[in-house]
Amino acid sequence: MTAEILSFETGRPTELAEGEPALVVDVEGYEGPLDLLLALARQQKVDLHKISILALADQYLQFIEEARKVRLELAADYLVMAAWLAFLKSRLLLPEPAVPDGPSAEEMATALANRLRRLEAIREAANRLLNRPQLQRDIFPRGNPEAIAEIRHPKYTATLYDLLTAYATQRQQGVLASVHLARRTVWSLAEARASLERLIGLPESEDWGCLDEYLVRYVAEPSQRATVFASSFAAALELVREGQLELNQKEAFAPIFFRKRPPQPPAAEPVPDMTAE
């Protein structure tokens, strides 16, 4: 029974693809034919129940006609509605055929009136909804809520296996540790001095040598690097003070070079003697 009406409904315009030039879609701000029809119906200032669909159709067709004089292009849906209304109008004016052919003109008119009433009703409802006190506009929540602090209670877990392996490993380590002597991790000043003195006793130490390169030989493992270098440097300074050694560094953090101090005329004591054991 509503087939025709529905076919009109499903014939709604589709959305424009992007970039496609739009037809004239703005018919004095009306959002679609139904919107325009509703506005026209309101102008009749009567209840939508009692509205004359015939008069409404006339007004719509007239409006569209005038709009087309100004703008040749008019959105298709307005024209579809105009055609449909013209058809409805003719059906309403003609006597009913003896054999009903689809919905009667009366039924079609009622269906249209119902649609208009429904749109009107939802608009009214929307208005009332908007007039309700709105959050952040009329009524407000607590502006400065207080945070609820979370206290976490740790619940520890451990298994018997963890416990026993930890104990066994620990005790065995203890036994092993007592077997091995702890490795001395500090290079004493005396050790450093002794090794430097050994070095300057060698004939090639007459030439400049790089202290860092020499010391690396004594660094058994990387962790000892600091102590070997610190002690050796201190010992080297001591030897310089005693006049046995010369140090040379180009700039801060540059490699330090050393050599046996060459024999010097003013020097009272012969250097090589000092190095002798």
Partner: protein, 243 residues
């Protein structure tokens, strides 16, 4: 400078004068509700109350207590929260941050979703007689007031839309049944989107339980409805509805 702690003490002394005046559970309830930024449901509140407290009765008492005040206890979607009294809106407007101005199209679509939910886009368009632009739905989804809730079991399996708790909260509705004019619309058959009156009286429902004619959302549906990122709501967007 007087410390806060000192002030607290000064205040704390006063209740001693009349301890009967304020049952402890009311103090606890108001403290919890005042502090929270979100509405709290009865179960959550009950969990924080001492044993044996009738939370519902206490809430009713508290609601009555605060009724004449500038701050009222209100219920939204079965959750309780304090809100400033509605009649003080004129005073509070300056507090208001820029309220989102929805286009007329968006407001209409929102109303249709609210009153006809669960509703598909095609059904919305049937009522309005206009194609709904993607932008309009995107703007509404962005407000958090509507959500896609399922897919209608019809060819094409279109998404069905419904309102959220945030919608109730926004419009100070305790439940969907409080929608203005709902009874009237129901009575006149205006909620029936299908023209021949069906055998069921359509009633909007935001019950997340799917209707018989709804399928659950599929993975990815939520991303789909929200993508592509909504463009800023500009005037030109609304014109597109008539296109």
């Amino acid at each position: 400078m007087a410390s806060l702690a000192e002030k607290r003490e000064a205040i704390a002394e006063e209740p001693v004068a009349d301890p009967q005046a304020r049952p402890e559970e009311l103090r606890l309830l108001e403290a919890l509700l005042f502090a929270s930024s979100e509405p709290l449901d009865t179960a959550t509140l009950a969990k924080r109350m001492p044993e044996g407290v009738d939370v519902k009765a206490a809430l009713a008492q508290l609601q009555a207590d605060y009724a004449p005040r500038g701050v009222n206890l209100v219920r939204i979607a079965n959750k309780w929260t304090f809100r400033t009294a509605g009649d003080l809106a004129w005073l509070m407007t300056r507090e208001s941050t820029e309220t989102r101005r929805l286009s007329r199209a968006a407001i209409e679509v929102l109303a249709i979703i609210a009153y006809h939910q669960p509703v598909t886009r095609a059904e919305i368009e049937e009522i309005r007689g206009v194609v709904t632009s993607k932008g309009t739905l995107d703007v509404l989804l962005e407000t958090g007031w509507i959500r896609p809730r399922g897919r209608r079991k019809t060819p094409g399996r279109p998404l069905t839309f419904g309102t959220t708790e945030a919608f109730l909260s926004q419009f100070s509705l305790e439940a969907l049944g409080d929608l203005p004019g709902l009874e009237e619309l129901k009575g006149t058959g205006m909620l029936d989107t299908r023209l021949p009156t069906g055998f069921t009286v359509p009633t909007p429902s935001d019950d997340p339980t799917l209707r018989e004619d709804e399928d659950p959302l599929e993975p990815g549906d939520l991303e789909l409805t929200l993508a592509p990122a909504p463009e800023p709501e500009s005037g030109s967007g609304e014109g597109g509805d008539a296109a």
